[in-house]
């Protein structure tokens, strides 16, 4: 990979004919040394990029066009045959995969707005400067970020489990019975785990961005007679748009990979099957059913969905941003 970097440099003087002027030569030597150093600094990363990113993506695409075929009722030697787009057709007509996509779509629709609005609201409230012990409040909100995803899922699983959960006991005393892992509640329960884990982290991202808003801008708004709510929504929020886009984007990419929480919850509830989300479908196809072609095709479909959606988010936000600029 990195070898492309030095090769782009003007190559050495011999062969070019005219002997370069001394100062030129000095500059060329320096330039070559710079590019050499540049290559040394970049090589380790690009080796990794090739090894654990480019080759795997290529392999996934390649695999998705092949299937292991066992001729003669599975007794003959296994061979790999080219099947074209048949794996894709199989994936895209598989109701369990489409169901998984539907689950993730619904999950994103509930989770992302809640996350972005919640984290931004908390950051704006903290930035308004009326909360005492602000630093402690932030640390408290941030704490779940230090809890690994699988452990967050464990904690909440126990809080959802009758007999273990003080929440269910408390609700029981008020004569409310909730099954947190029922048909309609399991997805909100997963959203809750993700929200709990990441709310504080994103709040800190927004808060840090709000700190960078120039005070003159806010003061000007106040002079113009804007109240605190209006200042927050119409002055501060537009100024941290870049952060909002970034948070929405990362939340989206993470949400599309939904795996850890349902995987853990599936140990305790029949409402989550082994192909609940696309990532679980991939895992199931690859490591339970050993159908690599199908798993690879599902991976590529998930990858394309991710790229399309992230591209959509950037395009959409940059366009609405431009419109906003024009309106000013």
């Amino acid at each position: 990979m990195t070898t492309t970097a030095p090769s782009g440099a003007p190559t050495s003087a011999p062969g070019t004919g005219a002997r370069p002027a001394p100062r030129d030569r000095v500059r060329k030597v320096a330039r070559r040394r710079e590019l050499g150093a540049c290559a040394v600094l970049m090589t380790p990363f690009f080796l990794l990029l090739t090894l654990v990113f480019l080759i795997p993506v290529g392999t996934a695409v390649w695999l998705s066009f092949f299937q292991d075929d066992q001729p003669g009722l599975g007794f003959g030697p296994e061979r790999t045959v080219f099947v074209g787009l048949r794996s894709y057709a199989a994936v895209l007509t598989d109701p369990t995969f489409l169901g998984g996509l539907g689950v993730v779509a619904l999950y994103c629709l509930i989770y992302i707005p809640l996350m972005v609005v919640g984290a931004l609201a908390l950051a704006l409230l903290l930035d308004a400067g009326v909360v005492r012990l602000r630093a402690w409040a932030q640390l408290g909100l941030f704490l779940p970020h230090a809890v690994p995803g699988i452990i967050a899922a464990l904690i909440w699983l126990y809080l959802y489990t009758p007999g273990l959960s003080p929440v269910i006991d408390l609700l029981g005393e008020a004569d409310i019975t909730v099954n947190f892992l029922g048909v309609h509640t399991v997805l909100p329960s997963i959203v809750n785990i993700a929200l709990w884990s990441n709310l504080g982290y994103n709040m800190v991202v927004f808060y840090a961005a709000l700190q960078a808003v120039p005070r003159e801008v806010i003061e000007a708004a106040v002079v113009d007679g804007a109240g605190p709510v209006r200042t927050a929504l119409q002055v501060k929020t537009p100024l941290v748009r870049a952060s909002i886009v970034m948070v929405a984007m990362f939340t989206l990419i993470w949400a599309l990979q939904l795996f850890t929480e349902p995987m853990l919850l599936s140990q305790s509830t029949p409402m989550i099957n082994s192909r609940f989300s696309p990532s679980m479908y991939i895992y199931d196809a690859a490591f339970t059913r050993n159908n690599y072609g199908l798993a690879a095709a599902a991976s590529v479909v998930l990858l394309l969905c991710t790229i399309a959606l992230s591209y959509g988010v950037t395009r959409w936000t940059s366009r609405s941003g431009a419109r906003e600029e024009a309106a000013r």
Binding site: G8, G36, A37, C38, M42, P44, F46, L48, L49, L51, V52, F53, P56, V57, T59, A60, L122, A128, G129, V130, V131, R132, A135, W136, A137, Q138, L139, G140, L143, P144, A146, P148, G149, I150, I151, L154, I155, L157, L159, L164, W196, G200, V205, A208, A212, I218, E219, G227, P228, T231, A242, L256, Q257, F259, S279, I282, Y283, S299, L302, S310
Partner: protein
Amino acid sequence: MSSRTTAGPTAARPGLLGRATVRLVVGVSVLYTLLPVLWLVLAAAKNRDALFGSDLFALRDFSPVQNVRDLFAMDGGLYGRWYANSLLYAVLGAALGALISVACGYAFDKYRFRHKEKLFGLVLAAVMVPQTVLALPLYLIASETGVVNTFWAVFVPVLFNPFGVYLGRIFSQGYVPGEVLEAARMDGAGELTTYVRVALRMLAPGVVTVFLFQLTAIWNNFFLPMVMLSDQDLYPVSLGLYAWNSAATTSPEYYPVVIMGSLLAVLPLILAFVLLQRFWRSGLTAGSVK
């Protein structure tokens, strides 16, 4: 904690009712984030019978020491093994990964070469690719090369941190002025010597930030070890607790150790975040400036 100690302009502050509402909302949110952790602490400290009893918040029936002892005795001390593995994967992986990423980000910032922005685009694209997409091909490559179910199968992929390159480039722009490098060149220092002796020192806060983000990511990592490892002795804590939790559905004696194990697994990251606050806060700002 806060870099701006004075509150916002006073005139923009909400009235009395508004202030009460703000405090209530923030207070409830903090309770929402803290109570589950508090539950974990209490549940981990309770003895086995009290855990399944109804009054968990009653302040008795504690046996934290016994619980820790039980945890480390379970299945022949497997938990201690997992903990050591996690520390190895996470601390070593994050340290090495941060150095690799920041070096690359620095090179992106300070040197000119052909197709630079295209290469950087590739790095950014890598940020967006879901890990679950790469798992199957990585597994197949690992089995092809015979490293599947070894330390390396988990360790090498976690070193890869494209977002660290992005942060490294931004930190390099912010912390390492070009004049300093020019001065070092005038003094006849080699490019790499300059990087190690001068630039890296200025980049230190950035390296720590990337390290911390990567430490969290590796400590949290669950999917990759699950795909790569079948030998329980190589498991990180996350995967080990998952395995024990699935055992608990049939044999409940695993519940207390899973809970205590979860609590201990949370501690290193909390410690790291508290100790290194100063750094990651600046990192978050850098990440959002673009």
